[in-house]
Amino acid sequence: MDASALSNPRLQAMLEEEKRKAMANEFVAKLTDVCWDKCITGSIGSGFSNSEASCLSNCAKRFFELKMLIVQRVSSPR
């Protein structure tokens, strides 16, 4: 492996960008997994009902809030 290819700033920038995308991607995948189990309890139809769709949306937002709360709780002095 040519070391100069690895130290290329364009490659470094791209790796940083892909790292951000991977984290976002992983978070969305994780939340979809969790919220699917919570919200899609009935049989699978040809589209989501309004309540299923809003449950998924609320679930994702609330899970995000929860994460933020936990970060605050853990990082603040007791």
Binding site: M1, A5, D33, C35, W36, I40, I44, L56, S57
Partner: protein, 84 residues
């Protein structure tokens, strides 16, 4: 595609290396997605495995895959759109 070495034996240029990394990442994302969707839809649609997939199981699976993709979109919008 299983190593970062170029086929010609010369050092890979940055362009080729970046393309290769992107392709492998895309493959990894797709694999993870297939893994999850497979588990979810098997649980939803194949409740009592028989000697083959029935017609209703097959159509449930195809609806389930569509719904899972839709759910991923809903979750993504909920997180990344400005209104919380």
């Amino acid at each position: 595609m299983d190593s970062f070495s170029s086929s010609s034996g010369s050092p890979p240029n940055t362009e080729a290396l970046m393309d290769q990394i992107k392709a492998q990442l895309a493959q990894a994302y797709a694999q993870e997605f297939l893994e999850t969707v497979g588990n979810k839809c098997f649980a939803k649609c194949v409740t009592k495995p028989g000697s083959s997939l029935s017609g209703s199981e097959s159509s449930c699976i195809s609806r389930c895959v569509d719904r899972y993709i839709e759910a991923t979109g809903i979750v993504s919008r909920a997180l990344f759109s400005s209104t919380r």
